[in-house]
Symmetry: C2
Subunit: 219 residues, 2 copies
DNA sequence: GTCTATAAGATGATAGAC
DNA sequence: GTCTATCATCTTATAGAC
């Protein structure tokens, strides 16, 4: 399973054949089918193990995160560590492999994303609960968006390393924006509420009429 | 080339073999090697064509974008259209295939990302130039981050469609945040400047000393 | 340019010895 | 459980007829 995970990380799904993995593990190719049935099922088992280990490692650390700047610092550390470990690359490969309608890889990708978003969501929710950002931030959706974005950035890094660093830097700069709104407190909260009533509710009304629910509050 | 692009979109890199592509085009497999040399080179040519067509289509539309809400509306439209066309999925497949050290696919992925970020960057720069956000937003890095994030979200969508919609919704909600800071104008600008001096310059100082450049303005 | 035929190799998977 | 040996199948890629 270690050999499978390493091969997936370094060679991608395309290079993760039974023979390549078995050679890396120093065993015979037939063993893979004896123990796991198919190559995809081995990759699934290996990635589940890797994701579980990584998420377990961060659970304690996540629990200590109390503020937004804590979150950003932990996030930076997590990204760098997981990047070096190659787990993000592994998830990216699982997801692109899953697009070729491989049920085992799809299941592995779903599991990995779910494991991460569950943890991230609880942290985001805790940190944002008494911030004006709670008005606009949906922690569940946000956790998924953050996870997915990191997958994309990892793939981008494989293709244009300097560009990816550039992109990450600019996202960090943008985090200052969140900090500012947070610090602005009641002023920001009032401005956000006003915005939400004028723009967003119009879109929501469209949505509601589209699904023929007519119990919206009087405009 | 159309058949190659379609196969890449629908079956992924793993399923994009010479025989599959040729069958889709209704021609013989050997023609691919006659015209393009290798399968990867065909995929490269096909993706360049698709990217060029897509970017050309949006160039005029991008030119009309004048405000931040314009940008968000165009962005939403672009995302939906390109998603349906499958171009984001194609880029995702190119990038994950490139991770397996395929030079032609890597080149194709680089070209696609570059083509999009060049266009997006100019729009972002134009829209943000007289906004307080210009203080923290690096348009080049931001354009790359946005492009990469959409790649990740596309892959995620293939694995968990409802979750991906959720993630996109929450990003749209978060866009209201940007709107608010924009509207707050001078107040936000002052708060941002203050933040940048206190937190970010410390990090920049670390970086500068790390690369042994000592010409930073007196603290 | 397009085809048939074919080489030369990789792949997933199984059968059976040990 | 682990191996060897083998299968059918798929792969890229080339040679040569038309």
């Amino acid at each position: 399973m270690t050999a499978a995970a390493d091969t997936l990380r370094e060679e991608g799904v395309a290079g993760a054949s039974a023979r390549v993995i078995a050679a890396r593990a120093g065993v015979n190719q037939a063993l893979i089918f004896y123990h796991f049935g198919t190559v995809s099922q081995l990759l699934e088992a290996a990635s589940r193990q890797a994701v579980d280990a990584a998420v377990d490692y961060y659970r304690d650390r996540f629990a200590e995160v109390a503020s937004l700047s804590d979150l950003l610092r932990t996030g930076r550390e997590l990204h760098q560590r997981e990047r070096d470990a190659g787990n993000v690359a592994m998830m990216a490969q699982l997801m692109s492999g899953a697009a070729g309608r491989d049920p085992a890889l799809a299941s592995a990708a779903r599991y990995a994303m779910s494991a991460w978003t569950v943890e991230i969501e609880s942290v985001v929710q805790r940190v944002l609960c008494d911030s004006p950002l709670a008005e606009v931030a949906d922690s569940a959706g946000l956790a998924r968006a953050v996870s997915a974005s990191f997958i994309g950035l990892e793939l981008y890094e494989g293709v244009d390393p300097e560009g990816a660093v550039h992109a990450l830097d600019s996202l960090e700069q943008l985090a200052v924006l969140v900090d500012v709104v947070n610090d602005l407190g009641p002023i920001a909260r009032r401005a956000l509420r006003a915005k939400l009533n004028s723009s967003s509710s119009a879109r929501r009304a469209e949505l509601r009429s589209a699904i023929s629910v007519s119990d919206m509050p009087g405009a």
